[in-house]
């Protein structure tokens, strides 16, 4: 399978924060969700993928090309949606379009009008009068109007109401009908991912924890719940992290089959949400320090 984005052994240091030996590969024709808590390196990673930041060491390639020689070509083929507003406040959407369209060889006014109509956006009102949802739709319209093969979004659903989030997912599903498109987006609203993401890339404290497909995650991970008498030091080692209360324990395992063998019917096993996995991984990292 072809990789659209490849990061190899990327390092990037800031004051008090590092991206460490970070390698990922994003597959063509699929949706990859990029998850992690606040301040763990999601935006930094995306900025490196967009060449807005350069790694201290390691390589970044997009469409198999490097930025040094092919920046223009790469950027032509990406549609980028930021988490902050990058549109000019004092302009209307129409005026904004006239600026942006010249940057793209494949700009398509028909497509632009299609999205403007779909999203019910006003063309002549100043952008500063837009609500947060409208702003998002406007950014999306800009990103989708030049036949980009790769859509990269930084927290596209944050701050949006659930109805609009659903609508956005439908639009993404629609985009994916064309098998050549790839979507990579960061989020911490993990429920959005169940409905659209094929692969999940999980980052924590600047480190790549895993990239797995959604089915693998379901097959490997489980939440185990049971009485405290079942736990001892050795058994606790089997879990990524354990949360104990006076009434019992709850733990995350990355080896569901093994947990089934050990505990059988003595515990309740449940499908973890991505949130569970994020929570327990963070907790585990703290416990094992």
């Amino acid at each position: 399978m072809e990789n659209i984005i490849e990061l190899k052994n990327v390092h990037k240091s800031f004051k008090g924060f590092d991206i460490k030996n970070f390698s990922i590969a994003v597959k063509k024709g699929f949706v990859t969700g990029f998850i992690g808590g606040n301040g763990v390196g999601k935006s930094t990673t995306i900025k490196m993928i967009m060449n807005l930041l350069q790694p201290d060491s390691g390589t970044v390639s997009v469409f198999g090309l490097n930025y040094k020689e092919h920046e223009k070509e790469i950027k032509q083929r990406i549609g980028f949606v930021y988490d902050e507003n990058i549109l000019y406040d004092h302009l209307s959407l129409n005026q904004m379009k006239d600026i942006v369209k010249h940057a793209y060889e494949n700009w398509d006014d028909h497509l632009f009008n299609h999205y403007v109509e779909l999203f019910d956006l006003p063309l002549k009102k100043k952008i500063k009068t837009f609500s947060k949802g409208m702003m998002m739709k406007a950014s999306l319209t800009m990103a989708l109007s030049h036949h980009a093969e790769l859509i990269i979004m930084d927290e596209p659903t944050s701050g949006l109401d659930p109805i609009f989030r659903r609508e956005l997912l439908e639009i993404l599903h629609q985009l994916m009908q064309d098998g050549d498109k790839t979507i990579f987006f960061s989020t911490h609203i993990t429920t959005d991912l169940d409905m659209i993401a094929d692969y999940i890339t999980f980052i924590h404290n600047g480190e790549h924890i895993f990239t797995k497909d959604l089915i693998e995650i379901e097959e490997e991970y489980a939440i185990v719940k049971g009485g405290l008498e079942l736990l001892d030091r050795e058994i606790e080692q089997e879990f990524l992290a354990v949360r104990k209360s006076n009434y019992g324990f709850e733990a995350l395992t990355a080896n569901k089959g093994r947990a089934e063998e050990v505990f059988g019917d003595m515990v309740i096993m449940e499908k973890p949400t991505l949130e569970d996995i994020m929570y327990y991984t963070k907790k585990g990292a703290e416990q094992h320090v």
Partner: protein, 125 residues
């Protein structure tokens, strides 16, 4: 054709899709040679990820219920009666197992259960 997905089920979503398509094929609701929606279309319609429908189709292909032609899509295979019978047998076994477990829960003996089965079987004739 109907596909209803439960998010609270213990079964993986791809298994639910697999089972329900299989049922439609076995009951001839989907006929041999009929084309199935593309994986991407089905993912969109069901609001699930592509990898989920892809896996369901792969499993259906592995078990011989459908076949795929590159560039054309997926189609329902000719069902041989042996396979249909086997699939049905498996279903019967599962249902009987449930009945057995329920019986044990409330202390019904094998003899009693057999009697019950005999009565019900005859009533249906």
């Amino acid at each position: 054709m109907q596909i209803i997905i439960s998010n609270s089920s213990k079964q993986h979503i791809y298994e639910q899709i697999y089972e329900q398509l299989k049922t439609s094929i076995l009951s001839n609701e989907l006929e041999a040679g009929q084309s199935l929606p593309s994986m991407r279309q089905l993912a969109k319609d069901l609001n699930v990820s592509l990898i989920t429908t892809k896996r369901a189709y792969e499993e259906l292909e592995k078990t011989g219920f459908i076949y795929s032609i590159v560039g054309k899509g997926s189609f329902v295979s000719e069902q041989n009666s042996e396979m249909v019978k086997e699939a049905k047998m498996k279903g019967i076994e599962e249902q009987l197992l449930t009945a057995i477990r329920n019986s044990k829960d409330i202390g019904i003996s094998l003899t009693e259960l057999k009697e019950l089965l005999t009565i019900l079987y005859r009533e249906e004739e």
